[in-house]
Amino acid sequence: MSTGARQRPALMHLYWWFLFSQGGVIAALLIPVHVLIQGILGPLGVVRVVDRHYDTWVQVLGNPIVKLYLLVLIAVPFFHFAHRLRYLLVDFGMPVARTVPAQAVFYGGAVVVTLLTIWVLLTTAPLSLP
């Protein structure tokens, strides 16, 4: 434990934790309904769902608000996941997961997913204002 002359809290951890908690909230509030409808009810044909048809799907994806929403839905939770999986590795007896390189790998991964999502959202359905 370093009780030395440090003047501020460990800022890096603080930002990671901030993203972790935001991701956690978003995952908790939003993911279940997507899984339920797009992953189960849609494929089983119980209800009509936007992503079952090309035109409805593209039309919805074209909406800038939807693009923004999807960015938040997909990218932010990955900071949560990265954080949890990194700590889980520590809990399983892998202290390397605590190190700065490991942080770079995990949170870097989340950054990659974020960029990927932006790229996908920008390159798939063309922007269309409703």
Binding site: A28, H34, I37, G39, L70, L73, G93, V120
Partner: protein
């Protein structure tokens, strides 16, 4: 600390499950990303996922997702401190508010997903 410490106690095990929810949820979101990407394939080649295996996978993910939501939202209630008229709101009330928010969000999103479907 023996490596299998988390198997020794129910509570430890539940904690590990809680943290582990991250993995299935991440996989499912990656699938969603793929699903979006495929919308770029054009009308002819687009066919949405629908295999039984995928549905089974989604059911499993849903269980993890619900577990994540329930644990995360109730714990949030414990952490957040809100004061109203100088008196702290009981944590149960904050958790309840979170659950209400969850329900509202789910209804709205579900409505959009289904309403615009055809």
């Amino acid at each position: 600390m023996p490596a299998g410490w988390w198997t020794r106690k129910r509570h430890y095990f539940l904690y590990v499950v809680r943290e582990f929810t991250a993995l299935p949820l991440a996989l499912w979101l990656l699938w969603l990303l793929v699903e979006i990407k495929r919308a770029g394939d054009g009308p002819a080649r687009y066919s949405p996922h629908g295999s039984t295996a995928f549905v089974v996978f989604s059911v499993i993910v849903l269980l993890f997702a619900l577990y994540h939501s329930v644990t995360f939202l109730s714990l949030t209630g414990v952490i957040i401190r809100v004061k109203l008229f100088d008196r702290p709101l009981p944590s149960g009330l904050i958790s309840l508010a979170m659950f209400v928010l969850w329900a509202v969000a789910s209804v709205v999103i579900g409505f959009v997903l289904i309403w615009f479907g055809r």
